[in-house]
C-alpha cells in the first residue's frame, strides 16, 4: 500500500507552542501534500512538496521531505486555537496511479487557549 501514515494520532498543545506531525509512506512518490480538515468539514490544502524538494515554507507552516526515509513532517509554529483540526498527508504516486491521492488517517491537533 502507498498510503501515508501520520504520527502521532493525536496531539494536544498550548497556544504559542509548536506542533510537529510526521508522515511516512511506502512507495516512490511524485509529490506529497498536506491538508487540514476541521471537524466534519472539507479538506483545505496547505502545502505541496515535490520529490526533488527537501523543505518548503508557507507562513507558520514548514514541511520537510526525506525521500530516503520515505517520511515528511509538518511543523506549525506559534500555534493558535484556530489551528485545532485534523491534519492529513497525502501522496501522489508515480506510474499508473499518477494523480490519485493516498491519504493517511490523520493527526488530530488540539490547541488549547
Amino acid at each position: 500500500s502507498q498510503q501515508g501514515e501520520e504520527d502521532p494520532q493525536a496531539l494536544s498543545i498550548q497556544e504559542g507552542e509548536n506542533a510537529t506531525m510526521n508522515c511516512s509512506y511506502k512507495t516512490s512518490i511524485n509529490n506529497l501534500q498536506w491538508y487540514r480538515q476541521n471537524s466534519g468539514r472539507g479538506l483545505v490544502h496547505l502545502i505541496l512538496i515535490r520529490s526533488n524538494e527537501r523543505e518548503k515554507h508557507s507562513g507558520r507552516l514548514r514541511v520537510t521531505l526525506d525521500t530516503s526515509k520515505k517520511s515528511s513532517s509538518l511543523l506549525i509554529t506559534a500555534s493558535r486555537a484556530a489551528d485545532t483540526a485534523s491534519y492529513f498527508c497525502a501522496t501522489v504516486g508515480r506510474g499508473s496511479t499518477l494523480g490519485r491521492l493516498y491519504f493517511g488517517r490523520g493527526t488530530q491537533l488540539t490547541v488549547w487557549p
Binding site: Y35, G42, H45, G99, R100, L101
Partner: protein, 113 residues
C-alpha cells in the same frame, strides 16, 4: 479565490434509491476527482476523470457508480442503487494537472437509511 463547490451539502436517501452528487470544479482545471470519507476513516479515492473519460478508478468504484461531465462546468457522481455502506462524506476535487495541487470542495454528507 476560485473554489470547488458541491451540492447538496447533505443528502438523506432510502436504501436502493439513486442519488446524484454535483460538483463545480475550478474553471481552468482539467482533472477531476471524487473521494469519499466514511465516518472516522481515511479519505479514499474513488475515481479520476480527464478529457471526458475516466482515467483511473479504485476497487470501490463498482458498477453502481458512474461519473459524468454533462456540460462545461458540472461534474457529477451517480450512485444507482444506494446501500447502507455508501453513507459517507463525498468530496469532489480538481487540479490543473495530475501532479499539481488538488483542491477539494466542502463535501456532500450522504446518509443512506
Amino acid at each position: 479565490e476560485p473554489e470547488v463547490t458541491q451540492t447538496p451539502s447533505h443528502q438523506v436517501t432510502q436504501m436502493g434509491q439513486e442519488v446524484i452528487l454535483r460538483c463545480v470544479p475550478i474553471s481552468n482545471h482539467l482533472y477531476f476527482y471524487w473521494y469519499r470519507q466514511i465516518l472516522g476513516q481515511k479519505v479514499e479515492f474513488l475515481v479520476s476523470f480527464y478529457n471526458n473519460e475516466i482515467s483511473e478508478k479504485s476497487e470501490i468504484f463498482d458498477d453502481q457508480f458512474s461519473v459524468e461531465r454533462p456540460d462545461g462546468s458540472n461534474f457529477t457522481l451517480k450512485i444507482r442503487s444506494t446501500k447502507l455502506e455508501d453513507s459517507a462524506m463525498y468530496f469532489c476535487a480538481s487540479s490543473r494537472d495530475r501532479v499539481e495541487t488538488q483542491y477539494f470542495g466542502p463535501g456532500t454528507r450522504l446518509l443512506v437509511l
